[in-house]
Amino acid sequence: MDNIASHENWKSCFSEIGPGLLLFARQWTRSAADAEDIVQEAFVKFWRRNHRINNRALLYATVRSIALDFIRRDKRRARREATVFADADSTVEPQFEWEDEAQSALAAAVSCLPHEQREVLVLKIWNELTFSEIAGALGISQNTAASRYRYALANLKKSLQPQ
């Protein structure tokens, strides 16, 4: 794919990857507005540095890095996020556009996953990254990424089974 800087229609490029990027950024923020700030900063930074848009691992790593900086910048927010991550009931919820109760339950189940598993799941399912790219974006091994993904699916399956 083209270099993002020379991409004439960056809007179509962003509309393609934007929702996934935003969902990924939501892993560290409570509000969509904060996530949008992060995505904006990451996307512009990525574009400014003339990286190739197919280097998705780097793009998501940029989002992650900016999200972590975003949290560090505001210590009060960091404390709040830490509290949020510690409490499963109020875990940061990715926003989904669900159509029925089944999808709503699925979205809720996803939001209850441990953070590290949800992170991999978000990158794999809604951003269509390979395990190699996920490993690059998160700074983990490919096997760890694959294993976290399997655990995430197993946990989801378990939580969705009727009691």
Binding site: K11, P19, L22, A32, V44, L153, A154, K157, L160
Partner: protein, 181 residues
């Protein structure tokens, strides 16, 4: 390998919320602003940009021109020094053969830009016997010896401490009469 194909399909069917239209505008604004900043930065000097553009050809040409200029200046300066040595040399030769070549005899009244002789050596590094020969009209044989030497002359400027040394190879042929006894 995949144990959860149905679950994966269900997850894929779940669409994440789309970014707000405002985000597009904000990103566009940020990009435009960034372009302006880049344009302003372009006015400044950037080594990376400089080396990546055709300017580097001009830079290389300019560097080559400067080197040539330095080389020309150096050659000219060398010529001038050679002239000075040539001017100083007769005096030094005269002084060199004098026994008072040591420090006490150095003419201290010389002006500060003059060099005074500071030493002279002659090293014979090869002697070749070229056999006997008879000079024209002579009945006495002569032994012809060829000496190959390295001569070195040194001058020093007492006021500045600068020194000049000239070294060159020389050959000398000596004819020695051979006694018939």
């Amino acid at each position: 390998m995949n144990d959860f194909p149905e679950l994966e399909n269900e997850l894929k069917a779940l669409r994440p919320a789309r970014p707000s239209p405002v985000l597009f505008e904000r990103i566009e604004e940020a990009m435009v602003e960034n372009c302006r900043a880049s344009a302003a930065a372009d006015a400044g000097w950037s080594w990376r940009r400089f080396t990546e553009t055709p300017y580097r050809i001009g830079f290389a040409l300019a560097a080559a021109a400067v080197l040539l200029l330095f080389a020309a200046i150096s050659v000219e300066r060398q010529r001038q020094e050679d002239k000075e040595v040539a001017q100083v040399s007769p005096a030094s030769e005269t002084k060199a053969v004098l026994p008072a070549f040591s420090g006490s005899s150095v003419d201290r009244s010389m002006s500060s830009n003059k060099f005074v002789p500071a030493g002279a050596t002659q090293v014979v590094y090869n002697t070749r016997d070229e056999g006997l020969q008879f000079a024209d009209g002579s009945r006495q044989p002569l032994r012809r010896l060829r000496y190959q030497t390295q001569q070195t002359w040194q001058w020093r400027n007492p006021s500045t401490g600068a020194s000049l040394r000239v070294s060159y190879p020389s050959e000398e042929v000596v004819l020695i009469p051979v006694s018939g006894q």
